[in-house]
Structures are given as structure tokens and as C-alpha cells.
């Protein structure tokens, strides 16, 4: 199957077509965007079968062809595509979720003045994301990486008439750019020694001891900085909650299922380098992941915007994946990524249904929706239980895999914090569900006409809910074999050696009990009038305020921007205006003007003056000549 390149090429072509002719197409071309991503999803299957047929061949690359991009004497850049198990998982997630989200968007975005532009940008994003996961070299990966960042920027700020949306788009772009600079430097560092951007060649070079340990550690930490920005890890996580200003399907696709896991994918892809580097590199990954988990779960307890709560749960999930990667397990991280894509897209899209029906997204104005929107409440409940890690949903298997890995590593600090996060996750997901769907409506006006959305929106929800129900079973060896895989997830996606699915009952029972405890506590705190929660917030006022203000990180960053960045910018701006512009540029121009204007009065036009000047000139030159020559 040499047609791998078609997978990103078709949405890219759709983007170009929509950009040029979208206005003239019937229905503004939404069918073209959906058809393109559906075609990519269909092409994915022959690629998968091809890979399964060739699993025993170590240098199989999926037949992706390579293009010569830059060809100089000693500097060649080949662009190509590469298919392996990691890529396949990402392709499945990205193409399927993108398809679901675009179908859902048809109904959600109906009547929007920029309907066609929305689908064009969705196609652009899909093309960039698919290129990112297929790239066989870091340069192409970086280009696609920036492409998805740009797509995210446009789509967060899709309703840019609203100032907060424009600000959120800017914040997301600039914050991720900070990490991207690290990524670019890391790529250049890897290239400088190895002389190639090709990922597998870099691995060979590193395994041959081409990099010194410190050099490699620095390089992978810089790569990780890129992942921290894109995957919204502490301390660059601040953009993701704000990114909820975008349309909800965008949040489902970009800020839950695909773009934010690009950082996870990057670390998973480059994990052999992390393992070769100093152990501190993986410790940093674990520490950052765990910090993100603990910050996000606590912030999720106080946020009142339904989408922001889900955004915090996304941070939570991304942190868990980073912890798994920091423990050196690609299997656990990718299994979680796989499961997370479905249930988080499900959560976002159900939240979108609620927002669509009530035009409210604040928990203080919702409540009691389960009777009005039964389908939505059921699928939302499935998503929330999966996030909380309840048997037998996808999130349960994935999270237990991560708990196993951190338990196997005998790192009890991590383990204890992970268990704590399980409790708080269950707590705030319960809060979200209880405050949205049960109790009495807090705003009757908004809910008068609330009802389940039309089939165009509920069918994707049901499909995603079904996958959330059964998706976790891919971890079992027999399920994988029945589907034609060599075994369970762990025998398909792994770093060095396949690991069969193992299921330590103690971890599973402990985590389930903790999660059920979290749910029970959530029901106690927030059901009805939520009096216990109010009392808790009263008695723990400083804690509550800290959480509600996102640990004051946004304020701290704003302070740094105001007092360091802008103050430094003011100094540079002063230098630019006064020295560079006024003195150097305008000054030299002014000198020319002054000289020309002043000198022109020497041109009197009168013959005797010229004659006199010539004569005097000759006399002076003669005298000089005499003096010098004597």
C-alpha cells in the first residue's frame, strides 16, 4: 500500500478546493470536507491491513514514498511518510474523531455566517494533524506541528467578533509557541550531530552512541518543551481552558482528541531517545505530568463553566499520559490516548448539545436536564464514568494500565498521587453530571425548549458512546486476535518488547473503590442544593479562592508580561523609535535633505560666479600641487 500519502492529501485538497470555490458549492461545501475526511478514514483500513501483514518485517515503513525536498552537496532533506503501530493508533483516532466531529458540526454550526470557512479550516486541521502523525522526519513533523497550531488558532478564534475568543486564540498561539521554540531548537540539536532529520536514522545514530549523554538529555528536554506547550502541561497549560472559547466541536476535535495529544505522540515517538538520555529526562516528564494532573483535578472542582470543567479533565488525562510515558510505557500512554479520544470527544460533543439546546454553559444556570435531554444525559454519563475510571468503560482499562505501570516502577510518591487524582477526578466528574442533569433547573427560562438534538448530532454521540463502552477491551489479547491483531493492545503498540495484558486485581479493585468513593462524595456534596459543597467552600475559603483563580497562575503570567515582557519591550521600543528610526534612518535622510537644500543655493545660474569658482579652484589646486611636489 503505497498510497499512505493520500490520507493527509485528500483533506488538504479539500481545504484548497473549499478555500477557492467554497462559496459556489451547494451547502457551502460541507459535504466536500466530510467526504474528504471519510475518504481518509476509509484509506486507513488498507494501510492497517498492510501493516498487519508486515508486522514481522522490522524495516517496513508502510510503503510511504519519499520526496527529495532540498538537495545540496552535503545537505539533503527527504520528506516521507512512515507507518508503524504508533502511527496506526493515531491515524485511527484522528480520522475517526474528525469524521464524527465534522458530521456533528453540520447541525451545530448551521446558520453560522462563516459556515464554509469553518469546514475549510477543519479540513486544513485534519490534513496537518494526519501529516504530523505520518511524518517520518522531524522537519516535516515540525511543519505539520505548526500547521495544527495555526489551525487551532483560527478555530479557537472562530467567533473573533467576541473579544474573549480573539484573546483566547492569541493566548493559545503564543503559549504553545513558547514550547515550539524549544522543539525547534531540540530538532536542530539532534540534526547538528546526526546530520539527518529522519527519525529512524536519528535513533540508529543515538544507539550507536553518536550523542553524548548530556547533549542528548538537553535535546530531548527541548523536544519535551514542545510537547509541554502543545499538550498543555504545567506550566504552559493555561491556554487550554481559555481555548474553550472556540465552537464546541472544535474543542472536541482539537482540544481533546487530536492536537493536544500531539505532544504525547511526539514524546512516545521519541521515547527511545528519552531512554538513552540521562534518567533525569524521564523523571522530568513524570514530574511535569503529575503536577499537571494534580493542578487540573483540583481546578476542575471549582470551575463553573461546563466546557472548562471538561477542559480541566483533558489536562488531567494528558498529565496521566505524560506520567505513563515518564514511566517508559508507550503502551499505557497510547491505550489511554486511544480511549481518551473517544470519551473526551463524547463529553465535549454532549456538552455541545447542552449548549446548543439551552444556550447556557454555566453550571449555575443548568440543572435538571436529564428529563429534557435523556439521550444526552445517558451518553454524557457514560463519558463521565469512563473519565472517572469505572468498570467496564474504556477509561477504566486505560487508567489501570497507567496505574499498573507506575506501580511496577515502585515509585510510591507517584502512585499515591495517582490514586488521589483518581478520587478527585471521580469527584469533579460527578459534580459536573449532578449539577447539569439532576436536581431542579436553576434557570427555567433557558430550559423551556431544551430537548435532545437532531440525529445529525446524536448519531456521532451514540457511536462515540458505543466505542467508549467497548473500546477498552482492545487491551485483551483475545479481543485483539479476533480483530486480526497479533494480540491485545500491549502486543501491538510497544517500545521494545510486546507486553501481554496483565490485570492485577488489587490495583483494579483499589482504584475502582476510590473512584466509587469519589462519586459517592460528589453525590453527597453537590446533589440537590449542594449545601455541603457550599459549606466546604465557606470553611476552606482561601483554598477555594486559590482554585477558582487557577492557582493565580494566570495573574502571575500577566504580571510577568506586564512588568517584564512589556517593560523590556518598552525599552526596546524606545531604542527603536529614538535611535534606530529617528536618529539613524530619519537622521541620515534628513542629512541628505539638509545638504541638498543648503547646497542648492550655490547654484546661482550666473556665469561670472561659475567662472570665478573655476578660476579659484584651479589656483588652489595649483598651489596645493606646488606645495606637495616641492
Amino acid at each position: 500500500m503505497g498510497e499512505v500519502w493520500l490520507i493527509p492529501a485528500i483533506p488538504a485538497a479539500a481545504f484548497v478546493a473549499l478555500l477557492l470555490f467554497g462559496k459556489y458549492l451547494p451547502r457551502r461545501g460541507d459535504w466536500l470536507a466530510i467526504g474528504a475526511i471519510a475518504a481518509s478514514f476509509v484509506i486507513f483500513f488498507p494501510v492497517l491491513i498492510d501493516l498487519l501483514d508486515n508486522l514481522d518485517q522490522p524495516d517496513f515503513t508502510g510503503g510511504g514514498r519519499a520526496w527529495e525536498w532540498v538537495s545540496l552537496d552535503a545537505f539533503n532533506i527527504q520528506l516521507g511518510f512512515h507507518v508503524d503501530q504508533l502511527t496506526i493508533v493515531m491515524l485511527a483516532v484522528v480520522s475517526f474523531v474528525a469524521l464524527m466531529v465534522q458530521v456533528y458540526s453540520v447541525a451545530y454550526m448551521r446558520g453560522d455566517p462563516r459556515y464554509g470557512w469553518y469546514f475549510a479550516m477543519m479540513s486544513f486541521f485534519a490534513a496537518a494533524m494526519l501529516t504530523l502523525v505520518l511524518a517520518d522526519n522531524l522537519l516535516l513533523l515540525y511543519v505539520a506541528w505548526e500547521g495544527v497550531g495555526f489551525g487551532s488558532y483560527i478555530l479557537i478564534g472562530f467567533w473573533h467578533e467576541r473579544r474573549s475568543a480573539a484573546e483566547a486564540a492569541k493566548k493559545a498561539f503564543i503559549t504553545t509557541r513558547i514550547g515550539d521554540v524549544g522543539l525547534l531548537i531540540g530538532i536542530i540539536l539532534l540534526w547538528r550531530e546526526a546530520g539527518t532529520f529522519d527519525i529512524s536514522e536519528i535513533f540508529e545514530f543515538a544507539e550507536g552512541g553518536g550523542y553524548s549523554a548530556e547533549y542528548l538529555t538537553l535535546a530531548v528536554l527541548l523536544l519535551f518543551a514542545g510537547a509541554v506547550g502543545k499538550s498543555a502541561q504545567f506550566p504552559l497549560h493555561v491556554w487550554l481552558p481559555d481555548a474553550m472559547e472556540g465552537p464546541t466541536p472544535v474543542s472536541a476535535l482539537i482540544h481533546a482528541a487530536t492536537m493536544v495529544v500531539a505532544g504525547i505522540y511526539l514524546v512516545a515517538r521519541m521515547l527511545p531517545l528519552f531512554e538513552l538520555a540521562d534518567p533525569v529526562a524521564l523523571s522530568v516528564v513524570t514530574a511535569i505530568g503529575l503536577t499537571t494532573v494534580m493542578m487540573s483535578v483540583t481546578m476542575g472542582l471549582t470551575a463553573t463553566d461546563i466546557k472548562r470543567v471538561i477542559a480541566y479533565s483533558t489536562l488531567n488525562s494528558l498529565g496521566l499520559m505524560m506520567v505513563a510515558l515518564g514511566s517508559g510505557s508507550v503502551t499505557a500512554a497510547m491505550l489511554y490516548l486511544f480511549a481518551h479520544a473517544f470519551f473526551k470527544a463524547l463529553l465535549f460533543l454532549s456538552a455541545g448539545s447542552i449548549i446548543h439546546a439551552t444556550e447556557r454553559q454555566d453550571l449555575t444556570e443548568l440543572g435538571g436536564l436529564s428529563s429534557k435531554m435523556p439521550v444526552t444525559s445517558v451518553v454524557f454519563g457514560i463519558g463521565a464514568l469512563s473519565m472517572a475510571g469505572i468498570f467496564p468503560l474504556a477509561g477504566f482499562w486505560a487508567k489501570d494500565e497507567i496505574l499498573n505501570v507506575s506501580g511496577d516502577n515502585q515509585n510510591w510518591v507517584v502512585y499515591v498521587f495517582m490514586m488521589l487524582s483518581v478520587f478527585i477526578t471521580a469527584l469533579y466528574m460527578t459534580r459536573l453530571f449532578v449539577r447539569t442533569f439532576t436536581g431542579r433547573p436553576r434557570n427555567h427560562h433557558a430550559q423551556e425548549h431544551a430537548h435532545d438534538a437532531e440525529p445529525m448530532m446524536t448519531v456521532p454521540l451514540l457511536l462515540l458512546a458505543a466505542l467508549t463502552l467497548v473500546g477498552g477491551f482492545v487491551a485483551f489479547g483475545s479481543v485483539g486476535e479476533a480483530l486480526g491483531f497479533p494480540g491485545g493492545f500491549g502486543e501491538f503498540v510497544f517500545l521494545e518488547e510486546a507486553e501481554a495484558f496483565h490485570f492485577p486485581w488489587d490495583v483494579a479493585i483499589l482504584s475502582t473503590l476510590i473512584a466509587i468513593g469519589g462519586i459517592a462524595a460528589g453525590v453527597y456534596f453537590w446533589s440537590g442544593e449542594a449545601a455541603p459543597a457550599r459549606r466546604a467552600a465557606q470553611s476552606l475559603r482561601p483554598v477555594y479562592r486559590t482554585l477558582a483563580n487557577n492557582y493565580y497562575l494566570d495573574d502571575a503570567y500577566q504580571w510577568v508580561i506586564n512588568h517584564v515582557v512589556l517593560a523590556g519591550g518598552a525599552v526596546i521600543g524606545w531604542f527603536d523609535r529614538n535611535v534606530v528610526n529617528d536618529t539613524a534612518v530619519d537622521g541620515s535622510a534628513g542629512l541628505g535633505v539638509f545638504a541638498g537644500f543648503g547646497m542648492k543655493f550655490l547654484e546661482t545660474g550666473k556665469l561670472p560666479n561659475y567662472a570665478l569658482a573655476i578660476s579659484l579652484g584651479v589656483i588652489v589646486i595649483s598651489i596645493v600641487f606646488l606645495v606637495v611636489s616641492v
Binding site: 542648492k600 545660474g605 550666473k606 578660476s615
Partner: protein, 102 residues
Amino acid sequence: MIPIENFLVLSAILFSLGMYGVLARRSAILIIMSVELMLQAVSINFIAFAVFLYPDQFRGLIFAIFVITIAAAEVGLALAIVLRLFRNRATANVDEVDILKW
């Protein structure tokens, strides 16, 4: 034989007179005449040195003839310009002609 200094002094006097004329006179015709005077001073120099240094050769004298020829052509041109000037401005006073000034 007349010593060369005499020729040189004569040439210098003629040149200075011509220069004075060019600088001091206001009439275009007189300026042209003064220029002629300067040119002839140079010619005298050429002939004097030619005879003095290479009496049996001819090439210094050629220059004098060359200068006279050029001067004749130049006077023709200059008089034509002055004629046009007089037609347009009704004056040949160079002080009153400054259309090329800033």
C-alpha cells in the same frame, strides 16, 4: 635668440588679461573675446616651448594650429548661443541671465 622667459612672461600677461576679462566683464561678447585671449596665451606657450626644446621637430607647433582651429569652432558655437540669448532676452549681459539657478 630671444630667451624663453620673454615668451613666458608675454603668455602669462595675455592669460591674466584674458582671465580678468572673463571674470570682470559682463558682456557675453567680451567674455568670448577674453577666452580667445587665454587660448592664444596657451598657444604662445606651446610654440615657445616647441621651438626652445625641439627646434627641429614639428609636433609642438601642431598643437598651436589645433588650438586655433578649436577656438574658431568654439567661437562659432558661442556666438550662436549669444545670438539666441539676445533674441530671447534682448540682452547679452550675463548677470541678467540666471535661468539655470536653483
